[in-house]
Amino acid sequence: MTPDPAHGANSIAVEGIDAGYGLVRVLDDVSLNVGSGETVALLGTNGNGKSTLMKCIMGWVRPTKGRIVAEIDGVRHDLTKMATTDIVDLGIALVPEGRRLFPRQTVEENLLLGASRPKARPHIKTNLDFCFETFPRLAERRGQLAGSMSGGEQQMLALARALMLNPRILLVDEPSVGLSPLLVGRTIDAIKTLKEHYKLTVLMAEQNFTQALRIADRGYVIVHGKIEFEGASADELNNNDLIRQFYLGM
């Protein structure tokens, strides 16, 4: 079952933003873009600003400079001043850092909450079926409280919940956090499956660059709030010295 096909391009462009918390500036003139149908990796170790960038796109953190533009089904929207709920309503979904599930709600309730977006409501059944098909574990545990599930299961749930929104663009913030190496691989694979099924545009923040690059078309490396490197392909990133330096401390 394929949900309704994308009617036009879905892309995001971040144009020279500065952002931070209080007096602390975290992002410094960051620009990046994610083309329609692409999977782009945003690489960087802890605290370099990946999540902050995600929050800027979602309207949780307001950039002090620059702007963020998204194209949804071929229509351009300036996200810079929009409310988070409106951004989500356009069809941009975020799987946030720390998953942010509703721990005292069941798996199914969490999923249905994902479908709160008005445009997703007509597709609840097909989306739910697809989620359960892709993550059979969730089907087994649909009545369990989300907070009592293991990290891997929670990550699946977070992904599935985002898909219940029926998004055009999916942002994923560190899907590998808290997962065993095996699960990391599986989760990354799942993102790929979902992307293909829903014809999504994906921006994925990751520390685990080896895993990330398995599915990324290309990527950016962010260091201390600056885009230090832009790799036009996974290979280009794989063989970069800068990355070896940051990741392995050599």
Binding site: M58, W60, A83, T84, T85, D86, V88, D89, A93, L94, P96, R100, L101, F102, P103, R104, Q105, E109, L112, L113, G114, A115, S116, R117, P118, R121, L145, R161, A162, L165
Partner: protein, 289 residues
């Protein structure tokens, strides 16, 4: 004979519990689901009683019908109060203690307004079912208790359906756990809280009507319910309507049995002792998640 007594004690307890449940329903939403310590809730229940009284006295309409007609009024009142609460407290980060003081103040103000408008006398309503009672075998159902209890059960069923089957309802249950994450579901958490708080206030119209059907009401009647209402809510488990209902029925039945067989004097200690015990053993309450 003893058996009759027991059966009827349980029935009376269930009906009493139904009433307690109605009184607690709103708290279960505002305090249990939204983390808003609305200590003024019983005060608004009394306001509901007075509205039932005044309309009943003027037009002779049944108090419960009046309550249903008054639902939008209380809903709107809730929207207004939440607006003040939100702008004064919630927006600047949670401060439960100050919110508590705010609602304390509100409780007094409501009480005084009732005194100023209606005077200090006891108020009552007249309805067909006060005094009558339904008998099935040895079982007796005083209509004065039965009607409120049944309407209360219906109200709970409706609330529970709303909370579990609608998008807004589900969001209400989740909002206190992570309001920001709700935004990621395209849901405005403030709007959800406003709606939920307004619903919780709307229950005051119903509970108020029940209260005045069951007994005469004074402007200060609400105060005495504060303890019981929060006790039931916590006993049932925060945020769980079924839990609240069960706890209310449990307290009702325990009080009724204690009253029938051991003398009523100790009934309050029994129910609040039970609460203390529950908190010591299972701090999340009976059906707490």
């Amino acid at each position: 004979m003893q058996f009759d007594l027991l059966i009827n004690a349980i029935i009376a307890g269930l009906m009493l519990g139904g009433f307690y449940a109605a009184v607690t329903a709103g708290i279960s939403i505002s305090f249990g689901m939204l983390d808003i310590v609305n200590i003024a809730h019983p005060g608004f229940i009394v306001l509901g009683s007075y509205i039932a009284y005044i309309v009943n006295a003027q037009f002779g309409i049944d108090p419960i019908v009046i309550a249903i007609l008054a639902l939008p009024v209380f809903f709107a009142l809730g929207t207004g109060i939440y607006g003040i609460y939100f702008h004064s407290f919630e927006k600047h980060g949670q401060d439960a203690l100050r919110g508590l003081a705010f609602f304390f103040g509100l409780l007094f103000v409501t009480e005084v307004l009732l005194i100023l408008v209606f005077g200090v006398d006891y108020r009552t309503v007249s309805t067909a079912y006060v005094g009558g009672s339904l008998k099935i075998g040895v079982m007796e159902f005083p209509l004065r208790m039965l009607v409120p209890a049944l309407v209360s059960f219906a109200m709970f069923a409706a609330l529970q359906l709303y909370m579990s089957r609608t998008f807004i309802g589900r969001a209400v249950m989740a909002v206190s756990q992570d309001p920001q994450a709700l935004e990621l579901m395209a849901v405005d958490p403030t709007r959800i809280k406003r709606i939920a708080f307004s619903i919780s206030m709307a229950t005051c119209a119903m509970a108020g009507a029940f209260l005045i059907v069951i007994q005469p009401v004074l402007p200060s009647s609400g105060r005495e319910y504060i303890g019981r209402v929060f006790a039931i809510c916590v006993l049932g488990g925060l945020g769980s309507l079924p839990g609240t209902l069960i706890a209310a029925l449990l307290i009702g039945v325990i009080e009724s049995i204690a009253t029938t067989f051991y003398g009523p004097s100790w009934a309050p200690a029994v129910s609040f002792g039970l609460l203390l015990l529950t908190l010591a053993v299972r701090p999340s309450g009976l059906l707490g998640r």
